[in-house]
Amino acid sequence: MAAARQAAGLYVHVPFCRHRCGYCDFNVLTGHDASLRETYVAALRQRLGQVAADGWPAMASVFIGGGTPTQLTAGQLGTVLGAAREQLWLREDAEVTVEANPEDLDAAFAEGLAAAGVNRVSLGAQSFDAGVLSFLDRLHDPATVPAAVRALRAAGIAELGLDLIYGTPGETAGSWAETLRAALALEPTHVSCYALTLSPGTPYWRQVTLGQRSAPDDDLAGDRMQAADEALTAAGYERYETSNWALPGSRCRHNLATWAGGDYLGVGAGAHSHRQGRRWWERRATHAWLRGVDAGDPVGGGEQVSPEQQRTERALTGLRTVEGVARSDLAPVDERACRDLVRAGLVIDDGEVLRPTRAGLAQADALVRALLA
């Protein structure tokens, strides 16, 4: 916590996507043109200038997420990062991550990113199973992933994460194992494995509701998660959060700080910020956000997190990580439930900190419900 207070993280949201995938409920915008993207980049620069007045501490990390950040050009991403360096205090050793779609990454793009100071790329590989990719409406060919990895390596970007999705209907234990094998063959420094989630309002959700597609199965997802954990552990990766594994020294510092309750500044449509117990968010709709920046304030809402809510948030994010949560942050703990969980091998209790076990990480939400008295 102390370290988190000294430094902060910067999150930049890029809402653009080529199209909306059927399962996605993120804040994205499709059907945009080059001029809108240009306008958006200009607005980000302007916004960074506005927030500079708030006196943020040094930024230990930058994370450009989306949407699809690589819908912007490498040059535009460079412009945004440049503005961040001008307006805020970016530490020399800052971790600078960009989320990327593999089909956008050629050698030139990769070199552009490296030149802009990007030192970590998180690649949306999702799967190496063409059937799964098609179910997910992902447009890329699995073969584009190795090419993208090669381009990034050639450009000198060493920290390479691959994002994978499991639990898609049609996926088999064999095809998931194959995806994991293919991912590991690329020797990423970091792997995130997410269960396919059915989000209300998405096209996928509508299809499930109409009985046209089947919903993800939690038990099956549990099996896949375990298979991933076993394969990744065997390959030398350490699990540090419910959905994240990394080689030693390659954990995502930006996310770690966020989960630990640290401060972060978010700019861009729908971006969330947190500072000393206060949360706020910028307007979600891109055009509304653009108008807001123009008028000097794109903030859409906010809240002062009450101590009780802070406790819930600590539990929610902390119990997903191997570091766990200090008992003092959770108090009062339901001790009877805690004893049950320790006995069931889901939680380790050293009297100071409650840490989820591997099995516990798969049930983190349930742990929170049970432990908060």
Binding site: Y11, D218, S273, A337, D340, A364, A366
Partner: protein
Amino acid sequence: MAFSIEQIRNFAIIAHIDHGKSTLADRMLQHTHLVDDRTMRDQYLDRMDLERERGITIKAQAVRMPYTSDLDGQDYLLNLIDTPGHVDFTYEVSRAMNSCEGAVLLVDASQGMQAQTIANLYVAIEAGLEIIPVLNKTDLPAARPEAVAIEVAGLLGGDPEDVLRVSAKTGEGVAEVLERIVADVPPPKGDRDAPTRALIFDSEYDAYRGVIPYVRVVDGVLRPRQEIRLMATGFHNEIDDLAVISPEVKPIAELGPGEVGLLSASIKAVDQARVGDTITDHRHPAEGPLPGYREPTPMVFCGLYPVDSDDFPDLRDALDRLRLNDASFTYEPETSAALGFGFRCGFLGLLHMEIIRERLDREYDIELVTTAPNVRYEVELEERLRKPDEDSVLHLSNPAEFPEPNRIAEIREPVVDAMIVCPSEHVGTVMQLCEHRRGEMRSMEYLTEERVELRYLLPLAEIIFDFFDKLKSGTRGYASLDYEHAGLRTSDLVRCDIMLNYETIDAFSQIVHRDHAYEYGKAMVNKLRELIPRQMFDVPIQASIGSRVIARETVRAKRKDVLAKCYGGDVTRKRKLLEKQKEGKKRAKQVGAVEVPQEAFVAALSVDRT
């Protein structure tokens, strides 16, 4: 209009549910021109929504019908005393019967006599009432009036020809019934000059005027401003208002011997004016009360707990208020490790329990968890293991309070004299059911060739769960049941405990016969396995007697319970999702880390025991 005592006819209607009592009463109201066709509605006398919905009478009613005979042209005053029609309210029925001189025995011409009708008929005969047998629904295709008339006449020792036939629905024959009442039911006897004695046969509660007793004057008179005393409770006060129902409430200047009406005297609680008590004049009291007063005794008990523990004070207030108009249920605070703070409540019977529950839900809007009903046991303790401050005999209505098995010398349980009437082809099924429920056969009598009356001594505990449903389904709905309490019997009973994740859940403990314990335990753990959602870890469910486990099942753990992604720093959204889940969890009960849904607590109710 004042009536002399010779003009008065007080009568009740004895009928089984759905045999048409309320419809006949409706027709009488119309035929005596008390209610015109325009203002008529079905079940005119049943006032509670609950009564209309369920087609049953819970509270007694007394309606005053002036009537001019078509035969002799004379004026009469008919008082119809409508009684509740359920075994839970036998005592109330007997008090109402004691307020009458005659009774119409109303029998469905296709279904024949039912156990409850027979039981109430015996109450009426015991009270010395003139019985007027009437067949209803004679116009229906399935009617077999001849056979049923023979059955009825056989029971009454009369001539089948004397059994009247009506269709309460169309009104046909109703005039004849009224004439027969005038002709056969004797006028009341009573001494106008003697000290006042009036019987309370029911009461209702009015938020403004307090308890309103329904009374039948036996001797003397009642007048507004008269100072009265209730002989059993000692309560005394001045009569504020005196009234009759005809068919709406009308004030009246005097009620003389034989008359029926209601009064208000600023009686604050039903405890002060109980059914069966005698009202007398405070200054010139009668020498003794009318016979037959009894304190209400609850027979069936269950725990009532608020779903949301914050509702506990509201539940207490609601029970306090319900108690104001129902003196026959009891409640005491208790705590359960599983359910928190609640009350152990006592009821006259299962229907009574359901009614109270439903009224709490409807009138007070409190969501409740109800534990499985049970009876009150007498537990005699082993003398040498008795603690110094302990009584040698405990009266326990909560299984969780039972002492350790080795400390118990003997357990006695309440038993009932049950009467079951069923078609002879189903006798085998009924006997099987009764034997399985530990019944001892007392007698078996053929009412006619097709219909049998069986009498069994049965443990009350065995009939408060699903006995009636089983009886009905085993006889295609033809059997009927009535019972009266018959004291206590020593039985080989044990407490069966249920453990969830190795912890005993007090609210699940139940007293069962040793021979049935295994079967019961197995059924319970199976049922709970279905009802308890999968948790984070395997949850064993065990049934045990003392420390011996007799049945076991396991609820298998979920493989995953976590949202995959916590993205973009939007912690607010995730927190709100969890807060919503926690709201849902509030409705379930937490046992350690195990969430137990409310439904599980009434699981015992639906455990198939046959």
